[in-house]
Every structure is written in structure tokens, then in C-alpha cells.
Amino acid sequence: MKEYTAIKELPYYEELDFYKKQKRIVLQNCGLIDPEKIDDYIEKKGYQAAAKAITQMKSKEIIEEVKKSGLRGRGGGGFPTGLKWQFAKDAEGEKKYIVCNADEGDPGAFMDRSLLEGDPHKLLEGMMIAAYAIDADEGYIYVRAEYPLAIRRLKKAISQAEELGLLGENIFGTEFNFKIHIKEGAGAFVCGEETALMASIEGKRGTPTSRPPYPAQSGLWGKPTNINNVETYANIPFIIDNGAEEFNKFGTENSSGTKVFALTGKIKNTGLVEVPMGLSLRDIIYDIGGGITDDKGFKAVQTGGPSGGCIPAEQLDLKIDYDSLKEIGAMMGSGGMVVMDEDTCMVDVARFFLTFTQSESCGKCTPCRLGTKRMLEILERITEGEGKKGDIEKLEQLGKVIKEASLCGLGQTAPNPVLTTIKYFRDEYEAHINDKKCPAGQCDALKGSYVIDEDHCIGCGQCKTVCPADAITGKKQKAHTIDPEACISCGACAEVCPVNAISN
């Protein structure tokens, strides 16, 4: 027999810095099983929790267990899941629905997508348990059309589960029936909001309605409905399998369990990370993420996408959970985490996010439709060097009104990126407005013309070739110069310079 010797140089998975501080409950199987084979999932104890719940537990016991686990909605709001289920269970009605929100519209977020593509059966199992607990017999998964692979895998998973009798009628030989449909979104961010999402499932324009009534009372087609996010459902099998206490071992007092984050931006290791709640931003960014690219300085981290906020370096040791983030004006959101370095202009970041929410505002309520437009106009003026005294105060005032008066979560959170950048980086706004300078050197209108450092220039002439404005002169092998009058500050020359002799 052949002898195998351990190769010392190759670290185990758990020894890698990227994985050391992670705890994988939701992503446990992702990348390790074939998502298109139900047998692979079953081999990893798949559908055992559903069997246990449906054959051995009363619906009341399940809801109690979920309540005890302290699980909170992973779709952004953080509402206690057990309580939500209780409301749907208590609601009067013969017909009830289960809905899964897989719309994942935040730019820079891909947690739900990885789960749908990497372990679709986990979601189906979570939804089955929820359906049994609230007496629903029909479920919908609303997936954005931009995720074709996720849709394909989900369809396959559903038909496999149906073949084995895990979905359909008399599941596990009981009275319990449950079927799941898939609905594709059609490209509207606001459809991630629960009331808009259900309108869209019904085939209507996806505009939100005011709550109450909450979906638990009157949801899909006016019937009691429980809606949760993908990641929320994916936590359920673990809780039923191992008990609430085991789940409670991870996380903080008011935010138990783990959270999956999509770590992106100017960071060395990008990707999905699943960590216990309560880990600090420093742990995530430096230990897991490996720090900032090119060893530049850390400036801020943006969490929660267009509804979230920018968190400055002073808060790096913040232990992140739902409440701590809310306290500093940011948000957990769905789990996007974009790291920004010293070269990022915070006014421009605020403008970017507001451009997004502005164009995605459904237009139903005035504060959101017009308020975000006015805020965006001011921000555009500031980044174009036309900022006026009083602009910052106007932004703050508009932001406050929009937050208070908007109909749905989109408007209620849209000002967050602007308000947090003003709170933590007011000096950058002031520099744009008062000194007409962009400290990070990002805003084109505030860029000075480029200059060539004559001592370093090697006279290669590459800058002269690329300059679209023909502003560069000089002989081969001799130092070149830029005519400040003709320079349009496009930066093309600085990009091609082989010796980095050009700056602005």
C-alpha cells in the first residue's frame, strides 16, 4: 500500500487567516457539495431538521425554539424572526403563504446569490419548516432576473425535492402539504421592499404600500404571509437540528448567530465572509481581509449599501451587530461591506449612492421622489466645484425630513450615506465648498492641471502621445512640460508615465 505523508507546508483550511475567525453556519456547505445533487445535501444531514420539525414537533414548539435562538431578520431590518412567525401563525385565515426575499438589489452584495447557487436545498428546508410552523401550504421565492444560474439551480432543487416527496403532499407521511414557486423580478430595486415585492408577485407595478397592515395580517393576495430573507431561512435548519442554545453560543446578547458579509473595495482579500456577530470591524478588515491594498491608509468602510452609512477609522474597534451599527447612523443592511482608502472622496461616495436611490425611487411619495432629487442636485453642485455656503446645513435638513416623512424603507434610509459622511467627514465637504478643493483628488472639476516633475521625467514621450488635448510639449530624451491652459485634467498622461513623474 502506498504511504501518504502529510505535506507540512500546506495549511489546513482552518489555519488560513482568511478562515480562522470565520464561523460557517449558513455557508457551511457552499463550495463543498454539488448544489445540483440532492444526495450531497442529504449526506450532510440535509432535511433532517425538516423531518424532525414536521414529524416530532408542534408548530408552537418550533416558533418557541426560533424565538429562543434570538434569530433576527438578515434582510436588513433585523426584526426578530420568531416573533414574525408568531404573528403569521396567530393571524386568522385558511390560506397562508411563505415568501422568500431573494431580490438582493444592493450594489456590491452577493451573499444570497452564493447561497442560492451553492446550497439551494438549505433555503428550501428553511422555508418548509417555516411553512409548517405557520400553517402555510404554498411558498414563493422572488429572485432577481439578473441571477439566471441561481434560478436554474433553484428550479432543479425544487424538482428533486418533489421527486423524493420532500415537497408536495403528505410530506413525511403527515398531513402537511407544501409547494414552492419561483418568481423572477424585472429590474427594480424597490421590489426588495416587502410590500412592493408582493405587489410584483401579483403581477403589478412594484410600489410599496403603507404598513399596517403588515404582511402577517394581509400579505400576498390579502392573505396572512410570512416573508423572510434567504439567509434568515438558511439559519433555521441549524437551529432546529442543534437547538437554540447551540446557536446562541455565537454572537452578542441582542444579535445572536453569524452574519455573512460581502467584503469588497480596496481590500486585499475580497469575498464572502461569515463571522459571529460582535466581531470588530478591525478583525474583519485587517485579520480576515488582510488590510488595505497597496498598504494605503484606511479611510472608511461602507455598510448596508445605499441605505447604510460610512464608518470612519475611529470606529474600527466597534463590535458589529444590529444595534451598534444603528447607533452610529449606519446599518447592517443585507451585508455589503465596501472598504475605502485615502484616495476615496467621501462627497463623491455620497453622490454615488444617492444617484442610485434617486433613480430607483418609485415616485409614489413626495419626500423620497423630490427630496432625494434636491439632495442630489446639491451634491452634484458641490462635486462640480459650485458648492455654496449653507449647502451642508441644507443637506442635513433635507435628509432629516426625508427620513421621517417617506413612505417606505427606501426613502427612510436614502439620506444615510450623505448624513454619515457629513457627520464623520465634514471637513471634506467644507474643502469642496470653501476652498474648491477635493482632498482625495477625485472630483474632476476640482482637479488642478497636471504637472511633470522635470527631475524625474525621462523624456519618453508617452504622455505626449496619449494627451487628448495636445497640451504636452518636449523633445525626446528631454523633460516634457504641460501647458496648464490646455490641460483638461483627464489624467491620461499620469496613467501612462512609466516613472510616475506626473501628478496634479
Binding site: E202, T207, P468
Partner: protein, 156 residues
């Protein structure tokens, strides 16, 4: 709508008649088949599904996925950013308009090209820049862009 289009939409409708909640699905499938949703197609679907046309129109205009005008096989994005402008991007755009016989935002009759001017494409060193689907073309002149267009025409 011509006969072929009608029969395509009918096949799609057959699975969904009487189910009002299927409207978005029907529109998605019809657009996949026909490339876009013309007024005629929209009216036909509204009638067949017994939904007011105004309601259907509201849905079509709400979701960014739906197009009411045909779109070309190739989306031609011409940069109108500063660097491209000073290097003659406007002349490239004019040349494209002449060559394709369309204005900005329009699609050619043969459904090959849609012309879409855009702000900076982030490739100023190559100005003037044109992108066709995912392919970039730098240092374009009114003459060279016509050659590029002809290459695409010859592929079809």
C-alpha cells in the same frame, strides 16, 4: 403584429390565460421571443389576459427590464466625455449617425445597431472611444469607425 409574432405570443399566453398574476412572466417571455414589446403586442396581451391596457402599460414602464422600442443586436456606446470630446468624439458620433442613419438612442431598421452616447467610459488615454457590446475601440476617427461598423455588418 404579424402572424408569426402572434403565434409566438399565443403559445406563451396558453400557459397563463386567466391568471392575472402571470402578467410579468408573460411580458418577460414575450420580450425574450420578440426582442421588445411593441404597442400592438402590449394591447394584444392586455386583451387576451383581460387586463386594462393602462394597467399593463403601467407595469411595462415601471420595470427597467422592459423595452418598448426594438433594440439592436449591437449596442454602440459613443463616449461624450471631455477627453473624447476634445479629441474629436463629436465627429465620430456624427459619422456614426450618418452611417447608421439613426439619431441618438435609436436603432437601425435591420435591428443590428442601437446608438447610445454615454459619459466617460474611463479610457480617456484612448480617446475618442467607442464601445460595441463588450468590445472597446480606441483612437477612433470618422473613417475608422465606419470600418469597424462594416466588420460587424459582415459578420451577419
Amino acid at each position: 403584429m404579424d402572424k408569426i409574432e402572434l403565434s409566438k405570443v399565443d403559445t406563451i399566453l396558453d400557459d397563463h390565460r386567466g391568471k392575472k398574476d402571470s402578467l410579468i412572466t408573460v411580458l418577460q417571455k414575450s420580450q425574450n421571443e420578440l426582442g421588445y414589446l411593441s404597442k400592438d403586442t402590449q394591447k394584444y396581451i392586455a386583451d387576451e389576459m383581460k387586463i386594462p391596457y393602462s394597467k399593463l402599460y403601467g407595469v411595462v414602464t415601471f420595470y427597467s427590464q422592459f423595452h418598448q422600442k426594438p433594440r439592436g443586436k449591437y449596442i454602440v456606446r459613443v463616449c461624450e466625455g471631455t477627453a473624447c470630446h476634445v479629441r474629436g468624439g463629436d465627429k465620430v458620433l456624427e459619422a456614426l449617425k450618418d452611417e447608421l442613419g439613426v439619431d441618438r438612442g435609436e436603432t437601425t431598421k435591420d435591428l443590428l445597431f442601437t446608438l447610445e452616447p454615454v459619459a466617460c467610459l474611463g479610457a480617456c488615454g484612448l480617446a475618442p472611444v467607442v464601445m460595441i457590446n463588450d468590445e472597446s475601440y480606441g483612437r477612433m476617427t470618422p473613417e475608422s469607425i465606419v470600418e469597424v461598423i462594416n466588420e460587424y455588418r459582415n459578420k451577419n
